[in-house]
């Protein structure tokens, strides 16, 4: 029996009256690949923060590393024991170069006082070689794409005396190829006795390599199982207590005048000759590889990426694509892909975030905010979207990813839009929240709203949408009416054009 590298017993953590963790037991043996599974708010993030020393657990629990028990366990302790965390937000320094970012942890743990250029360049080059990439060493990290930034974060974790690598949602921004490369790196690490802990919603791809899986639900350990005994359905069941299945597609809307008409919209280096229409009550999906121009198109329809030619109209009325404000007035709402930086004011309350789009409509005759109407509207939205919050006054930053996404949705639903554009509405959120968001989208469509949904996940658009457009390199390359097509048809079409 191998001794545990990390052993945590009876760990609890309470935040402002909410029990995030309640007597959790958890262990990692050297050289294993361990998955930590759980829905939003199950306490996964809190557990990681405690392992990395960013948060202290409440009195009563114990943390043991390499057989010795830890007191006053801090970030420095975790780093000294070779524990590295790659957070979902990557925790990079946008103002520093690739080489400076990658070498940072190694420099900190070696307690260096002085820097030699050759040394940190070497550290960075070696780390990049490990996973077989070559990014420009002196590029500023803030200018890189998200997936490149993630590679930098992974390289940084690979420097130094690594014993345990923790990755929080590592695969959300990676393409299939990049994920495969990551998994082969992780298997390589296992060969060298380094443990990896994955925390992820995308369970399928991780199950191929995992040794053990720990499932958390509502801050408690449901259990820890050998991965071969499980499949993703079983894990889903343990995480949620129910089985997830795509529910019936919403019935097709009755024929009527088109809600949105896009006519040969083009923008240099973004997309070309985009024409399609969308009818009231219809859910249209746009899918395709990263960098196919999907997001750029969505931004253009919302007045944030002015196209060179072509036009778009809502109910026969031309949209002024220069002005987001006018697009909103014409009934367009846009829920961005990156809810953290584009969709929410993190330190502000749930209520304020939800009301920011409609504050002008809540003014009384004298120009003051009608607080009674405001709070009844907030309560209605929070209830309708089943947002889990201690109170509507809590800061959005304290919510889990799925609940944050619901707040972004709430904010735009409050404007009573005619056309709702959703960019990756379920990226990085778990199955239970995903189901709830799908149901909600269908409900909105049934009320006559047009929904334009952009998603990476073919199964998501295939099961939820009435119609699916495939984009590739800036053009619409295929259109599927889902009544008569299958998920595989779409996947084939993407593979052909890619």
């Amino acid at each position: 029996m191998m001794t545990d590298f990390l052993l945590m017993e009876n760990i609890s953590k309470q935040y402002a009256g909410v029990k995030a963790l309640d007597g959790v037991d958890f262990s990692i043996v050297p050289g294993e690949i361990h998955c930590l599974a759980g829905t939003n708010g199950s306490g996964k993030s809190t557990l990681i923060k405690i392992i990395s020393g960013v948060e202290r657990h409440d009195a009563g629990g114990t943390i043991t590393i390499d057989g010795s028990s830890m007191h006053d366990y801090s970030t420095i302790d975790s780093i000294c024991h070779g524990i590295e965390v790659i957070y979902q937000d990557l925790s990079l320094f946008p103002n520093l170069t690739v080489a400076e970012n990658i070498s940072m942890s190694a420099m900190v743990s070696s307690k260096r006082k002085f820097l030699a250029l050759g040394e940190y360049v070497k550290i960075a080059t070696d780390a990049m070689k490990l996973i077989g990439i070559a990014l420009p060493l002196d590029a500023t990290v803030g200018r890189l794409s998200v997936s490149e930034q993630q590679l930098v974060a992974i390289c940084r974790a690979l420097t130094g005396e690594l014993r345990l690598l923790i990755m929080d949602e590592p695969t959300t921004a990676l393409t299939k190829k990049e994920v495969d490369r990551l998994l082969s790196v992780v298997k390589d690490l296992r060969g060298r006795g380094i443990s990896t802990l994955f925390v992820s919603h995308k369970l399928q791809e991780l199950m191929q390599v995992a040794d053990r899986v720990t499932v958390l639900r509502d801050g408690r350990t449901i259990g820890c199982y050998p991965a071969i005994e499980l499949d993703s359905r079983k894990i889903e069941f343990m995480m949620t207590g129910t089985n997830f299945e795509y529910s019936q597609r919403a019935p097709a809307a009755p024929a009527s005048e088109p809600l949105l008409e896009v006519s040969s919209l083009s923008k240099k280096d973004n997309f070309k000759d985009i024409s399609f229409s969308l009818y009231p009550g219809e859910i249209v999906g746009i899918t395709g590889m990263l960098g196919s121009g999907r997001t750029e198109l969505a931004l253009s329809l919302f007045g944030m990426n002015y196209p060179d030619s072509g036009y778009a109209q809502v109910l026969g009325e031309r949209l002024d694509l220069k002005s987001t404000r006018k697009c909103v007035q014409n009934g367009v709402a846009y829920v961005p892909e990156d809810r953290l930086t584009q969709g929410l004011v993190m330190p502000q309350s749930v209520g304020k975030n939800a009301m920011v789009t409609v504050i002008e409509r809540l003014l009384t005759r004298f120009g003051f905010i009608d607080h009674r109407r405001e709070s009844s509207l907030i309560d209605e939205l929070v209830g309708r979207l089943k947002i889990k919050v201690p109170s509507v006054g809590s800061a959005v930053a304290t919510l889990s990813g799925g609940n944050q996404q619901k707040v972004v949705l709430a904010k735009w639903i409050a404007t009573k839009p005619k056309l709702l554009i959703l960019d990756g509405p379920t990226v990085g959120i778990d199955i239970a929240a995903k189901g709830a968001i799908h149901e909600f989208i269908k409900e909105l469509a049934a009320e006559g709203l047009g929904v334009l949904m952009i998603s990476d996940e073919v199964s998501e658009v295939a099961n939820l949408c009435h119609r699916v457009l495939v984009m590739s390199r800036g053009r619409i390359t295929a259109e599927f009416h889902m009544e008569g097509s299958s998920e595989a048809d779409i996947a084939d079409s993407i593979d052909q054009t890619a």
Binding site: S91, P94, N95, M104, S105, V108
Partner: protein
């Protein structure tokens, strides 16, 4: 060439060169060694503090109190010299010690109490300055020791011009250049310097990778105080009198010069060379106006224009860069 175009420093050099040509064409005495040495001497005081301001800005903070710290240090040193004596080294040591203590106090307020740095240092500026005025009654000090006055006259090398006027590089300028060298060494070649950039880039990430954020922040404000103390002595050397109200009010121009040099008020960016060039730009605007016989009442106006235009250009450039979406190779 394209690489050079990325740096704020490059633009500053170009602007400075153009201005120098303009001023020289109006008054040839601008571009003389004599005038240059003179400028480098009289701006040492600002220049030394600019290095401290630079570090504070890179770390993502701001310090408004440094001019008050310099004044307090200067005054205490003058009192110390009159009553205890000592030599030039003790003078610098005492001033640096006083400055460091006052700066450290700023650092504690910012780091441990998490008071926004602008509020904390506005408070301490009033505190330090108010206490000084109360304790001294606003009295000026004129009778500085002879050894102190003669130190100010030391020149590292002297050139005799044809018409028998001699001029040279002052030891005071040398102190400024040493301080800049120290700034470069810290920022470029020490882990401490790297931490300053890291904290300014993303403070939470800095905590997560295990950087000593507390020490770094306290160091940055203490170092600012240390340099303000040194600058206080330099100011006394330059003007040979000590007045409790002679410096306060200059802090915003120094901060502006450093921002001109490419430092960002949101932290994470800036260089010693840039701060130097920013200060040079402001210095020659003022000097050039004198030489071109433009009434000094216009000085503030022109400084305002220079700051607005240069900072405007750099901010606009980075805005344009941020807005560009990643380009996609659209199928033909």
């Amino acid at each position: 060439m394209r690489k050079l175009a990325k740096y704020t420093e490059t633009y500053l050099v170009v602007i400075i060169a153009l201005l120098a040509i303009l001023i020289t064409s109006k008054n040839p005495s601008f571009l003389t060694l004599e005038n240059m040495f003179d400028l480098l001497k009289s701006y040492s005081f600002f220049g030394i503090m600019a290095v401290g301001v630079l570090l504070v800005l890179i770390s993502g903070g701001i310090d408004i109190s440094f001019a008050a710290v310099a004044t307090v240090s200067e005054y205490l040193v003058a009192v110390f010299m009159m009553h205890v004596g000592g030599n030039i080294f003790t003078a610098f040591a005492v001033a640096a010690l006083v400055g460091t203590i006052l700066g450290f106090f700023n650092g504690i307020l910012v780091n441990r109490f998490r008071i926004p740095s602008i509020i904390a240092t506005i408070a301490t500026m009033n505190l330090y300055y108010g206490l000084l005025i109360f304790a001294t009654g606003g009295k000026w000090i004129y009778d500085l020791p002879d050894w102190f006055s003669s130190f100010a006259e030391i020149q590292l090398f002297t050139i005799h011009s044809a018409n028998d006027v001699s001029y040279g590089l002052s030891i005071i300028t040398a102190i400024w250049f040493l301080v800049m060298l120290a700034g470069v060494l810290i920022l470029r070649f020490t882990m401490l310097g790297r931490s300053v950039y890291a904290i300014g880039g993303d403070r939470r990430s800095a905590l997560r990778v295990g950087l000593n954020v507390r020490f770094t922040e306290e160091f940055v404000y203490s170092f600012m105080g240390f340099l303000a103390g040194i600058a206080g002595v330099v100011q006394a050397l330059l003007v040979q009198t000590v007045a409790p109200n002679s410096i306060v009010g200059k802090e915003l121009n120094i901060i502006a010069a450093v921002v001109l040099g490419g430092a960002s008020l949101t932290g994470g960016k800036g260089s010693v060379l840039g701060a130097f060039l920013g200060l040079v730009l402001l210095a020659i605007v003022k000097n050039g106006m004198t030489l071109m016989a433009i009434p000094p009442v216009w000085y503030e106006f022109f400084v305002g224009c220079v700051i607005l235009v240069s900072v405007g250009i750099t901010s606009y450039r980075s805005k344009v860069e941020r807005q560009r979406t990643a380009s996609i190779q659209v199928k033909a």
